[in-house]
Amino acid sequence: MSEMKKIKNLKEFSTSADRFEGANLLCPGCAHSIIVREVLNATNDDLILSASTGCLEVCTAVYPYTSWDASWIHIGFENGSTAVAGAESMYKALKTKGRLKQPDRKPKFVSFAGDGASYDIGFQWISGCMERGHTMMHVVLDNEVYANTGGQRSSSTPIGSSATTSPAGRKSYGEKKNKKDMVSIMASHGIPYAAQVSPNKWKDMVKKIQHGLSVEGPSFINAISACTTEWKFDPKDTMAITDLATDSLVFPLYEIIDGHELNITYRPKNIVPVEEYLAAQGRFKHLFKDEYKYLIKEWQERVDAKWAQLQRREEARV
């Protein structure tokens, strides 16, 4: 592992100079930029970044402005990860040939994508990057919906959520399929590092980002990004909702090293019932009608089962 920026506490972290700029057009209270800031501030190295189509891309590159103070590229919906992988391959080739102008500077390669561009559309591309073993990091800003285009369901949308293509109404309780377990899928490629992070646990997040950036080979980060517009809550509650997600274990924080060594990195002192997480968001409002109450019970059972499974995996090291 290479030398990383030392961040002992939040005061020390706050001396970082942001490389992501304000006056981007993300909604007030959007968690995307909180995640991006925590990722970029975790390192002082040069960065080569990409963003796949999604909220982050359309809002940070509005003509004639850019919000990125580092090399940044956007191509298509699916190939943000491969764009960065290509840059990484070129860097390696130039390094081997001794043609780098500043060989002592070691850039980090990071691609950002939403859950639509990662779970669905860019899935094959990301899988390819992980399989080929590029030294890069892929960060998913998981807001569980295609928020950029008006809230269509993605394969990250959880059961019972009302999205515009799976709306709740008289005949339906909304989305009927469960969320895809992307971290396990990516870890199954045998990559050196895969982790789930949450912006409210900044220290855990920075630690994981630094681990991911310092390994040789690909790393995959899945970050929960509360969406005020599509999850339907007040912009000021972004961090409160994220707290509920991690404390109710709906979004457990763990890492998988080399595809098998699972570590749970955050165990809430007081586990909050899933009901509280659901009740805080407008997209689950209909679940509190009498006829759909059973779904809340199922939610709790599913979350408990996943937590038990994670603990078993951690113990068994498989």
Binding site: A23, P28, G29, H32, I34, Y65, T66, S67, D69, K236
Partner: protein, 137 residues
């Protein structure tokens, strides 16, 4: 390049964040950067705001929670101290007020028209009703 029309904009052109050479951007703070007209830092989203945060430094303990959780890079922290709010880039989401752990809070939301001096003069007193609940860890 900032003043070019859409049809004068070359395909594959790059938007430069800075004017002139920048040696190490990761250690250069915003006030020392030579932003180009293409950097969104030079734009303003102040007209998005309905409510604005007002900062009272008397109660601030420099915990930096507002800095880390600000989505718009609008909390200005230098040398581990919270200095103030960047009103050009603040969208008024109110996250900084929610995460502020002090009692009374050192950041509060006021309507955009409120005079800052008046708001500071009429700052609420310490709330003793829930002394042993949150923020006392």
């Amino acid at each position: 390049m900032a003043n070019k029309g859409w049809d004068e904009f070359e395909i594959g052109a790059m938007l430069r964040s800075f004017e002139g050479p920048i040696k190490d951007i990761a250690t250069t703070h915003q006030e020392d950067r030579a932003y180009s007209g293409n950097n969104s830092f030079t734009a303003s989203v102040a007209d998005w705001r309905i409510e604005k945060p007002v900062f009272n430094k008397d109660y601030c303990i420099d915990c930096q929670f507002c800095w880390i959780y600000c989505p718009d890079i609008s909390i200005i922290s230098r040398d581990k101290k919270m200095i103030g709010v960047d009103m050009d880039h603040c969208k008024g989401c109110g996250i900084c007020v929610e995460v502020c752990p002090t009692n009374p809070k050192s950041l509060l939301m006021y309507s955009e028209q409120t005079d800052e001096e008046q708001a500071l003069a009429a700052w609420p007193a310490k709330d003793t009703s829930k002394a042993d609940s949150k923020g006392e860890e």
